[in-house]
């Protein structure tokens, strides 16, 4: 599903990734952990085609990022659901309209949109707040709307960059539970976080980064040093 092979990424101010190799299987849940600047966001940006590797190969859902043309980026993004710490909702549209927007701008059939929007709103438990604007929702609710928007195109992979970074403990639990449910239904999830409590609660695979290099991967068979 996702494969990094000897990936290096340099920014003008220095190296962000140094020889990162990893493989994420279909339906897997993977935590990316590490301090700020360790390279978590760079990995997620490479996965969504927002960055190109300096060297090495990044393959995701059948796309080779190094060879990705401008016309292919939208095709890749439609197979991904992406959520961020800051939700990235449009303030002048209701929850329902924010989700519908993702379908409209990707050319979904107009008559199919209301039902699909209601389905994901129900899935994230916000059907009753379909007509609320983001500023009328709590942080946790806003992140649920963002998750619903990420899910509405039935993505094979969900990329989450610190999705609970702006939330209090209770909202964090709710959103994390929702992400686990999404994974349980077969969607591959890659979630960057530095909330170690969250990581410890589960037995999901954890990849730890330090200064751009993978320093720990719980998914590796430690005796053989190969991916499971």
């Amino acid at each position: 599903m996702i494969r990094f092979a000897h990936v290096f990424k340099d920014y003008p101010k220095g190296a962000a990734l140094k020889n990162v190799s990893l493989h994420v299987a279909k339906g897997e849940f993977v935590f990316l952990t590490g301090h700020s600047g360790a390279g978590k966001s760079t990995i997620l940006k490479l996965m969504q085609g927002a960055l190109q590797p300096t060297s090495g190969q990044v393959r995701i859902s059948g796309f080779n990022i190094a060879e990705l043309g401008p016309a292919e980026i939208p095709r890749l993004r439609r197979r991904l659901g992406i959520v961020f710490q800051d939700f990235r909702l449009l303030d002048d549209r209701t929850a329902e309209e924010n989700i519908a927007f993702a379908l409209e701008v990707t050319g979904a059939r107009a008559d199919s949109i209301p039902a699909r929007v209601m389905r994901v709103l129900t899935q994230v438990g916000l059907a009753a707040k379909a007509h609320a604007y983001p500023q009328e929702l709590s942080g946790g609710e806003q992140q649920r709307v963002a998750l619903a928007r990420a899910l509405v195109n039935d993505p094979a992979i969900v990329l989450a960059d610190e999705p609970t970074g702006n939330l209090d403990e209770r909202a964090t639990r709710g959103v994390f539970q929702l992400i686990r449910e999404i994974n349980a239904s077969g969607t591959c999830v890659v979630m960057a976080t530095h909330d170690l409590d969250l990581v410890k609660q589960t037995t999901y695979r954890t990849i730890e980064l330090r200064e751009g290099a993978v320093v720990f991967d719980s998914g590796l068979d430690e005796t053989a040093g190969e991916p499971v």
Partner: protein, 289 residues
């Protein structure tokens, strides 16, 4: 298509102040261009009126046979520069002098012999009413044996030439400068609109909208604003025109408004800047996000 229109119109509804501001800015920028065009068109019309009076007069020796004059007239009419040749007989010349030169009426009244020569008045075609062409025709006329003298007000025509050249050059420079300023101001205005919606563009990119799809509403919005701005400029220019025409002194000199082609051109200019500005601004964003 419906979505495209909805998104473009939505931005007017969501940011009415910014939209109104950008339409007004476009309107006033184009108004400045329009005002300048109005002045230029009227200046050219005034010059044209003066130019129509450019003529060459060939005074004929007395006793020239009418057949010779008639043949020569035909000949001269065939010159490429010449529009019309009018024969003025000695009697007609005297009649005109009596009518036009009122202060000499007494002197002309009791003449026993007519002192005025017959003449051929030659009107030049449009495009040939300048010093060089007039002088060329005058030289050719002097070649006829029965032509006594040729007059065409050399200094006056040369002044007219100079005025025309200066007006053309100044007009072109100022016109281009005005247009350039309009392009810059409108470009900045549209850039602000795009920046205001940067978040929306980012979200569209995130969920996999194609670049063409993202551009669509912005292009339509830019074109609409250009169109509306062009309309505002048209109204302002027409208002100014009416105001000037209302002034009594100007009313008699007959100032003219821009003709429909120019108006259409102006509005298309607005639409083109709106479209171009949006294309550049959004394009920059699509590369950055």
């Amino acid at each position: 298509m419906r979505l495209l229109l909805r998104e473009a119109l939505l931005s007017f509804r969501r940011a009415p102040l910014l939209s109104a501001l950008s339409i007004t800015t476009i309107g006033f920028s184009l108004y400045a261009v329009g005002l300048f065009a109005l002045v230029a068109v009227n200046l050219r019309a005034a010059l044209h009126t003066v130019e129509q009076r450019v003529e060459v007069v060939a005074y004929l020796l007395s006793g020239t046979p009418p057949e010779t004059i008639a043949l020569a007239s035909q000949d001269i009419t065939a010159f490429p520069e010449v529009q019309r040749v009018t024969f003025v007989s000695e009697d007609e010349a005297l009649k005109r002098a009596r009518a036009e030169l009122v202060e000499f009426r007494d002197a002309y009244r009791d003449l026993s012999v007519n002192p005025l020569p017959a003449s051929l008045e030659i009107q030049m075609k449009e495009g040939f009413r300048d010093g060089a062409h007039v002088a060329a025709v005058a030289t050719r006329l002097q070649g006829y044996g029965f032509v006594d003298d040729v007059r065409y007000g050399r200094e006056w025509i040369e002044k007219l030439d100079r005025l025309r050249n200066i007006a053309g050059l100044v007009g072109l420079t100022i016109g281009l400068a005005f247009a350039a300023v309009a392009v810059v101001i409108i470009g900045v205005t549209i850039r602000i609109t795009v920046l205001q919606r940067a978040r929306e563009i980012a979200v569209m990119r995130l969920v996999g909208a194609t670049n063409g799809f993202i551009r669509g509403p912005f292009l339509l919005e830019g074109a609409l604003k250009g169109l509306l701005g062009g309309g505002v400029a048209l109204l302002l220019s027409y208002g100014t025109f009416l105001l000037f025409r209302g002034q009594s002194e100007l009313a008699t000199s007959g100032i003219v408004f821009l003709d429909p082609q120019h108006l259409l051109l102006g509005i298309l200019f607005g639409v083109a800047i709106g479209l171009g500005g949006s294309l550049v601004s959004v394009g920059r964003h699509l590369r950055n996000v």
